[in-house]
Subunit: 322 residues, 2 copies
């Protein structure tokens, strides 16, 4: 496959973003943004590590990779603008499959009017996709992890553990209730862009997107904000047929599973009704799952489970609280 | 190696760029730039394809990867601001080697006060480094490929083919004159940042950095600008001991070799003295190697060699002109 011909295939015929001055076709892309802050995120996906041909078709590989990046932009409270894609292509992948991968990205990109403005295609032995996404956020309205305050409500969108359940179904074929739902949650996660964008009038709000599991994300917030956080195990939202899976897997998936790409957030109690209103308008479940405790240099996360309070550390290992 | 610990190791303790609002440590980095246009470039390097352990030590892998990206930013006429690094790390590479790779980048980044503001580290079977670099350029002063005009002088910085000669020496050990020079040109190319920045007062200027060989780069300019370009084989600058290599390799390297990361440019004849002055001040060789001919929808590149004029196509194959 000729690199130049391939780039011609995937290049957009026209661009959506009025701030773009130069898209694909030079040493770099050029844009201007005089009014807003600019957010950049990057994520890399490797065949055999993040996905396999068995668990996801080519078009959804593209979709899913871009979705993970979009989720990061949403978690910063930013609007989407551009993306750049670097891809390492092994001989074992056909030109048609490559077009499908980029087609999957394009489908999701079109939904949010994001423009593909650059990238690189090289050969290699392992399909690897690295995406950089650029977004815009109102000055000073980035939803940093460091902004949580004592007495904030801790909340989460959607349900937890579904993506891992979907992967489990793909790896362990059989009869499951709501099979398609779980598989879709793994292959085609829905970044919570509209929800995050609907809350721009709230001054202070913290978001972290759930890529590594809720405990890990809560710890990132607690450490950046230097506060302790309490999560209530019995409040963690799960989907209708989640209970069909082995009990130890349920617990693992919802606490440490990750890749749900839901948003974990904290907000002042007086702003909580606004969060609920926006979620209701979008028909999106939003659940209060804990609270921010006192200021703390170490920034610990505690999990309340059956009237026991456990200290949770980053690898997911749980110590009983002394 | 724990990803979080590793990120702590490579994270900058402080940042240079005053436009940066948030560096590493959230879902994304945030900056603002109200006065200038913003340029983004991305390049990916794969072990076994772009480099091997045999031909380059870890610290210079980092240096070289970033240098190639910096060269793209220079070719856009932009100043450097930020970089983001995605890296796929196989088990066969040690933590120390990873630190060396990032150390090599940091060394080069420090020279230009560029800040590392994000990235991703994942495991995989093949060392792959994908770098996104962000730069700033004065409004409307991007050095696009599409701006070449008939009668422009075509020029190039430095000498051609040296990087390929260096790689050849590494692959074919033996006695060579100026061995260290050629190897350095392969392992540690010098992006022409100061030169490009020194020419900001020239209104219209075209740059393409030489990553794929001068013929390929000239074709990108001729096609984007819709003009024909004539290159003079006997004017192509080579370094002092370049003639020690087999004659067919000399020709291949200087025309199609690439990876010299010199700048190919076009400029109006009346501005040529300014280009020469800046080069002289920087003690950088700059050579007139051809001229822009007439407007042309097909944008062809011709090579004058021993009083014969040949049409050159993108794969480097040469047809005789009819």
């Amino acid at each position: 496959m000729d690199e130049f011909d391939f780039i011609d295939t995937i290049k957009q015929k026209s661009y959506n973003q009025p701030t773009l001055l130069k898209g694909i076709g030079d040493d770099g892309a050029v844009f201007q943004q005089t009014a807003k802050d600019i957010v950049t995120v990057v994520d890399t996906f490797v065949e055999g590590v993040h996905f396999t041909r068995k668990t996801i078709p080519p078009s959804l590989i593209g979709y899913r990779c871009l979705a993970a990046n979009i989720s990061d932009i949403a978690a910063m409270g930013a609007k989407l603008a551009f993306y750049l894609v670097s891809i390492v292509i092994p001989n074992s992948w056909t030109h048609e499959e490559m077009v499908e991968i980029f087609g999957g990205m394009k489908k999701l990109a079109s939904k949010y009017h994001i423009d593909l403005i650059g990238g690189d295609t090289v050969s290699g032995s392992e399909l690897t996709i690295s995406i950089t996404v650029i977004g815009y956020v109102q000055n000073g309205k980035s939803r940093y992890r460091s902004l949580a305050k004592p007495k904030d409500i801790v909340f989460v969108t959607g349900t937890l553990g579904d993506a891992q359940a979907g992967l489990y179904i793909l790896m362990n074929p059989g009869n499951y209730k709501n099979k398609e739902y779980f598989i879709k949650r793994h292959q085609q996660p829905s970044p919570r862009v509209e929800f995050a964008q609907g809350l721009t009038r709230i001054d202070r709000l913290v978001f972290n997107d759930i890529s590594d599991g809720i405990v890990s994300e809560a710890r990132e917030i607690s450490q950046a904000s230097k506060v302790d956080i309490m999560l209530h195990e019995n409040k963690l939202p799960v989907s209708k047929y989640f209970k069909q899976f082995p009990i130890h897997l349920q617990s693992e998936w919802k606490l440490y599973g990750g890749e749900d790409f839901e948003l974990l957030g904290t907000v002042a109690r007086e702003d909580w009704p606004k969060v609920q209103q926006v979620a209701e308008r979008l028909k999106l479940q939003v659940t209060e799952i804990g609270e921010v405790l006192k200021p703390s240099q170490r920034g610990q996360v505690y999990l309340k489970e059956n009237n026991q309070i456990k200290l949770v550390n980053k690898s997911g290992y749980i110590h009983f609280r002394k």
